[in-house]
Amino acid sequence: MRLFSNTAVLLQKELQAEFRSHELLTTASVFILIVIVLFSFTFDPTSAESRKFGPGLLWLAFLFSASLMLQPCFLKERTNDTLSALRLVVNDPFAIFLAKLCANTIFLLVTELLLLFVFAVFYNVGVIAVFPQLALVFFLGSMGVATTGTALSAISSQARMREVLLPLLLLPLLVPVLIPSTEATKALLEKEPVLRWDWLGILIAFDVVFLTALWLFGEYLLEE
């Protein structure tokens, strides 16, 4: 129970800090917006082309923006050594990870869902009818990105060349998230939308495996 109460307290702190500064949400939103708009003007895709290539473009934009968003996740805890202060008072270090990955999932999901409508307008793709299903795919995909990214952010924040290290480690590891997320999104944007549970199953399995690994080995990632 202490794990969950500590997680709730830390999550509240993460949300409070972000909604006060808007640093992460603004950066990620602007990045995704630029990618969507630039690609739209460059390729000027038809509705059929958008349904075919749009999901891949959308998820690549999400992944790159996530690597920007996840970079400061643990780095900002190093500035005033607040991570040490947290480690001194939190019994289970998994609470620190759980709060951060919940916060990162929320930030990613909010950004993705907001930008989904911009994508729909620029690429002439209907999303309203399948919005709940898309939200589910985005949630599972974002959770996979956030779980892996939070763990790697803890590792890279201690390293030299940390700005380069996170994307280098993160992007190859996220291929198993990128493919099912893109395929599941693509199936939902077809003229006859289908919720592909086979791809969602892979996403759920990925989330469970990485979450368990973080629970088991997270403590070691925070050590000096």
């Binding site: 702190k13 800090a17 005033n80 050594d81 607040t82 040490s84 202060a85 008072v89």
Partner: protein, 231 residues
């Protein structure tokens, strides 16, 4: 600043060794600090003082050796107040929000009353609603000490707590540490040379290249430990 007197906790280092790659920060260090002692830890830059405190606070795992807390059962987690070089506070939160965050994580009952008492004690009550990023170094340091005292720790580890403080804040710090010492808390503080703060110590120890080279209680040799560092 504090009404309740904490149960003093000792600190015992047995054969502690800490390596960072090929660099030895601590070498086979043995030291036992009894409950209620106030120890001034001194030594040149890079002598291992900070590493020793971080090992004592269990933030850093030693490469070899053991850290124990005499006065506590094995199953009990020690309440440690730690003040480091960095202030360990969130710049983007207010003073009150910072203390409330840590108080809630510690599960302190009636945290608002405790925080109010600490803010009054550190003369920061009027700035409780200000963001920490707007604070001076001295104010941050006072708030860091308030954070360290939230859970009424029996063991206080202070890493150069006087760094960056003006005269007024230094006087406040000395009075606060004296008060904490007189309450019976165990205090280990890193200091550079002799100062008003080091004079509060009941024991002085000196590190050199990760080795404990002098350790004495108040007496004739006490001042020599600081003099050796200043020389």
């Amino acid at each position: 600043m504090s009404q309740r007197i904490a149960r003093p906790v000792g600190l015992k280092f047995t054969n502690i060794e800490k390596r960072f790659g090929k660099l030895y920060a601590l070498r086979r260090l043995d030291m036992e600090i009894g409950p209620g002692e106030c120890v001034a830890l001194t030594g040149r830059n890079g002598s291992g003082k900070t590493t020793l405190l971080r090992v004592g606070s269990r933030l850093t795992r030693p490469t070899r050796g053991e850290v124990a807390f005499p006065g506590l059962k094995e199953s009990e987690a020690p309440a440690i107040g730690y003040v480091s070089h960095a202030v360990m506070l969130y710049d983007e939160l207010t003073a009150q929000e910072n203390l409330l965050l840590f108080a809630r994580l510690l599960g302190i009952p009636e945290p608002i009353n405790r925080i109010q008492s600490l803010l009054n004690g550190t003369n920061l009550a009027s700035r409780a609603a200000s963001l920490v990023r707007t604070f001076s170094r001295g104010m941050k340091q006072r708030l860091a000490i308030a954070r360290a005292l939230l859970q009424e720790p029996g063991l206080l580890l202070l890493d150069e707590p006087g760094t960056g403080l003006d005269t007024e804040s230094t006087v406040w710090l000395v009075n606060t540490v004296r008060c904490l010492r007189d309450e019976g808390r165990t205090i280990v503080m890193c200091v550079h040379g002799e100062s008003a703060l080091s004079q509060l110590a009941t024991r002085a120890a000196r590190l050199d290249a990760g080795t404990l080279i002098a350790d004495t209680r108040a007496g004739a040799t006490f001042q020599n430990i600081f003099a050796a560092v200043e020389a």
